[in-house]
Amino acid sequence: MIILSSVSKIFGEKKALDKISFKIKEGEIVGFLGPNGAGKTTTMRLILGYLKPTDGKISVGGLDPIEQRVEVLKKIGYLPENNPLYGEMKVVEYLNFIASAKNEKNWQKIAQTVGLSEVLNKKIEELSYGFKKRVGLTTSLLGNPNFLILDEPTSGLDPLEQEKIRDLIKKLGQKKTIIFSTHILSEAEKVANRLIIINKGKIIYDGKKPKEKGGVEKLFKSKIKN
């Protein structure tokens, strides 16, 4: 379970998060929505222990991401926003490096599932955007993590690839807890079973996804307007 209790984060004079709280149970696929700068990435980075909260408490599987950072990171697979990668490395070298860090021996099989077999011996900097995204996604799956945190996993992909990634997230969600952020509201509608909407550092909606078609968009617009 991931628990955030009254978590705030201040950068300089800017309050990025203002006392946000939520609990995410095992097996949930949570769509994390909000406009640019709302605090989605900051929240994800706090859960990973990449950032320290200014105030409040965070627990990931009963562990503190700051005090027990290494143990927490063994449980989480992460796809960062903008998907930073070591461009000068070959895909095979990079996956080997991450697999070693996460104690994953079966990375070739995962790479095959995500469709990376044909580019394993290419340098990452030579890959197309779509393949780079697949490399990032593959690394997030290594080490059989209990929690997946995906920051805009389909941004910049063509509709066909978006659909493939969505299907993959849905499939993974049967076994893992997933938090994913997105600007594509229809994506949240298709994939998530719970929505958290954040705006200006505050949670303005936390609940079930509307059942009717286009419901997520309506909900999002009404919440942001208010």
Binding site: F11, L48, L51, K52, P80, S100
Partner: protein
């Protein structure tokens, strides 16, 4: 740790930059020593060792400038810091990989003592202690350069800050600056210089105060680099 060191070494040797910097270092050091050897007509390696700090002053910041600055610029630091490795392991892996490159670079100068040994008699323990001192000096330059690399996203700034700071630290221990300082603080400033402690090794002396100095110097800058990574602001 082995995995991290392998990745770091890959950064130096997957691109031509690591080879170029290391080979240029070896060429310049060998050349500047050999060009005067017959003029001086001395079979000692002391002039070579006294020349080394000034080359290491450029070589090591050039090697280390990428370490954290590039990771920050390309945001791969987020990848690194969200892997299950402690900050200490990450910093030590970068430090040890630079250590290995220093060993490679210094080993490219071994032809000098070998040639001198064949031509004339040189006192080998002194040469060994000189190389030990050079390695310790190189390591302390690395820890300071790593620290400056962790402070910025800009490799050039990292290089400049490291080189300038090391330059001032080196001249603190030289006769040039000490002659301008009041006598009562002269000794204190000189003792802060890595050059002063390095000179003991060049003379073939393993002074425990100098060993302690290099150990503390490395500890301080590695510790400060770890603190910088732990900030997470």
């Amino acid at each position: 740790m082995k995995n991290l060191i392998k990745k770091e070494l890959g950064h130096y040797f997957n691109t031509p930059l690591g080879y170029i910097i290391t080979i240029l270092f070896a060429i310049f050091v060998n050349f500047f020593f050999v060009k005067d050897i017959f003029v001086v007509n001395s079979a000692s390696l002391r002039p070579f060792f006294l020349l080394l700090p000034w080359f290491l002053l450029i070589f090591i910041p050039a090697l280390s400038m990428r370490s954290f600055a590039e990771e920050k610029r390309t945001n791969t630091i987020e990848v690194l810091l969200t892997l299950p490795y402690s900050e200490t392991k990450i910093v030590l892996a970068k430090f040890l990989s630079i250590f290995l490159v220093i060993i490679i670079a210094l080993s490219l100068t071994l032809s000098l003592p070998f040639s001198l040994f064949l031509l004339t008699k040189i006192y080998l323990p002194e040469v060994f202690v000189g190389y030990l001192g050079s390695t310790l000096l190189g390591l302390s330059f690395s820890s300071l350069s790593l620290f400056f690399s962790s402070q910025t996203k800009n490799q050039v700034l990292s290089f400049l800050f490291s080189t300038i700071t090391l330059f001032f630290l080196l001249i603190l221990g030289s006769d040039f600056l000490s002659s301008y300082l009041p006598r009562n603080i002269q000794e204190f400033f000189i003792s802060l210089s890595p050059f002063y402690h390095f000179q003991n090794f060049v003379k073939g002396i393993i002074d425990f105060r100098s060993l302690f100095y290099f150990f503390s110097f490395n500890f301080l800058f590695i510790f400060l680099t770890i603190l910088e990574l732990e900030k997470r602001d």
